[in-house]
Symmetry: C2
Subunit: 388 residues, 2 copies
């Protein structure tokens, strides 16, 4: 079995990038990642681009080949990988398999989304394509509305107060303040969250991940190749798993649990031979506050209905038992859909390298990133381990 390592990382700031195109963003993160790896461009043998909506929002498909040319490596293998909001995590999984297979030694995986473009329609229309167009989306239901159902049902089922869930947004913003790439690097209060306008009852504006543009990239290499190049072998992708769930929310037995998270986490943890207690730093896909809480439960960090306690008890703080979303999470770092899964691993990498600045977690060894597509139709979980 071949081991796969993260050799370099790069990312753009998440923002409304009115002066940069989709290709500018993915080129910027890619070149940063290659530079960070210390490798030469000619070492890159394949490119995976995680992206959801470039056809609809930019009128541009074929991003793998496009990027290969625009970073100056035409000829390499390339493809775009799409799994709705889990496109980044799914692309990373393919990149991992590509190196592990022995066919490639070094590959570039890039997540990118430019949500402020509107080639054929707006971003709300693009996002709901994660759900079933023929049976759900055609009704006019938005992606936020679907999550509002989950939120309402969760509060009723477990008797949890909204304030205890909504605090997830406050947590995220506190950490975004020290993340130079965050879209909203400013603190917010629980009172502000609860008084912000409702987008889809009970979800407030300040409980929702924002719309933004951004790209993040990783260079993955085999152990053999890194050693042959005289590079350090530090950060191993010790677990990589993707799982699906019944596609439409309304057909699931329990909408307060994302079975795809349960499965992907179990598999990734098993590959890495870790248990939840071994996780030193965590990134969860909190597109809406309630999802952050649900993910903590589904990954085995809390019992169902009790995820909010970790938040309340301070366990998710950088010096807590389970430092979570320490660079701002989806709410405050931002959520450029297809890029998010790669931003998460970018941030885990900074933490494991000790380069997270004021948000640094004390000496972490194991980081986990959980990336969700749709309302849990696909989930990718990655475990990164620092090898001494």
């Amino acid at each position: 079995m071949r081991r796969v390592f993260i050799a370099g990382v790069g990312a753009t700031r998440v923002d409304e990038h009115w002066d940069k195109s989709l290709r500018d963003l993915m080129r910027e993160s890619s070149l940063k990642a290659i530079q960070d790896s210390g490798l030469s461009k000619k070492d890159i043998e394949a490119i995976y681009v995680g992206n959801m909506s470039s056809g609809f929002l930019q009128g541009q498909e074929h991003l793998g080949s496009l990027l290969a040319t625009w970073i100056g490596v035409p000829g390499v293998a390339a493809a775009k990988v799409e799994a709705a909001c889990a496109s980044g995590g799914a692309a990373l999984h393919q990149a991992y398999l590509a190196v592990r297979s022995g066919v490639y030694d070094c590959v570039l995986v890039v997540g990118v989304e430019k949500m402020t473009d509107a080639y054929t329609g707006d971003v709300t229309d693009a996002l709901v394509m994660a759900e079933d167009q023929e049976y759900v989306a055609f009704t006019g239901l938005s992606f936020v509305a679907l999550n509002a159902f989950v939120y309402r049902y969760y509060m009723k089922k477990y008797g949890v107060r909204q304030e205890d869930i909504a605090y997830f947004a406050v947590h995220d913003h506190k950490y975004a303040v020290n993340n130079p790439l965050a879209q909203y690097p400013r603190p917010i209060t629980l009172d502000e969250v609860m008084k912000s306008p409702l987008v889809a009852d009970p979800i407030h504006l300040l409980e929702s991940a924002p719309i933004g543009d951004g790209s993040a990239a990783l260079v993955l290499c085999s152990e053999e190749k890194l050693k042959a190049l005289g590079k350090d072998v530090h950060l191993e992708i010790a677990g990589s798993a993707v799982a699906t769930d019944v596609f439409s929310l309304h057909e699931r037995a329990d909408p307060t649990t994302l079975l795809a998270t349960v499965k992907a986490a179990r598999k990734a943890f098993s590959m890495a031979s870790i248990e939840p207690k071994d996780v030193d730093v965590l990134e969860v896909h909190d597109a809406f506050t309630v999802l952050g809480v649900i993910h903590l439960e589904d990954m085995g960090f809390a019992k169902k209905g009790e995820g909010w306690r970790l938040l309340k008890e301070g366990q998710l703080e950088k010096d807590g038992d389970l430092p979570t979303n320490t660079m701002g999470g989806l709410k405050a770092r931002g959520h450029p859909v297809g890029a998010t899964g790669i931003y998460q691993v970018y941030e885990i990498t900074l933490q494991l390298r000790g380069e997270a600045g004021k948000n640094q977690v004390p000496d972490p060894e194991v980081g986990v990133a959980q990336n969700v597509g749709g309302v849990g139709g696909t989930v990718a979980v990655h475990v990164v381990r620092r090898v001494r």
Copy 2:
């Protein structure tokens, strides 16, 4: 190194399927492939969907997870893979890597495109997204027009008569007659081709692959798994490669050569330890007649400017030296974009199994499929070998 085998295949007819949706098509081909493999659905561990334009044409993304549910295997890993018209071949490459990596034993790879839907725009707008939207497509140039440039340039450079190229369409239609899944199973004459309307000068209507809907699927398994299940181990994917070229046609040194074909073919042939002379049955991506001829040259079967001779000399016939597009090719079997790369391997499989009916090539052992994205921005080449 783990070996990867084709365990089962399935496909729908290529047609204007007004009574079937995208999901109906991909479900049909998937269930046929699983049934053909003799495996149980529970043996499928991951799904790859090759598709280009479901977001733009159907308002539906997240096809991997959608299909997992609609064939009754929610839970498995899944993703969509996109590389324009090479989406099928690129998805097959990922499926191959997935099994070869050792992480998965059996995976399903499905190509699908429903080109007759028009959720946000028509199929001409969708297809040109394979080229550069910001620098090329915005001018209004269509995908056919780009290929018309190649055609005109090729005839001028090599002094080849159009009739000698256009005959590729006649060849394809001759074989489609005996393919029950072909979109246009009827013979045409060279005279009809040359007198058909010009779509983009010099490309005639009958030199162009049609617009159609369809889906094809393959089940890939490891040797170990097939043996454990007591199944025959017959058809090995002996070579699998994807390569890119400079993204935009106008920036290439020589638009009459697709460097991505040259690279992908060399790599796939090298993996399989074969040379061009070892190929017993071939599928080339003749979206337009001139491309069929160019591909023969770029893969090493003829010198540049002389591909048409193979056609003229009868070498591409089922009993010739290089039986090519023996089920109708893109022109007459049809070209449902993201499905084409899988249809090609479906047809190679029928040939290697001796199940090609009236189009059967005498006792073939090695089949090759070449699938092109854009005007050669991405090319996938697969070598399938019958193991005795």
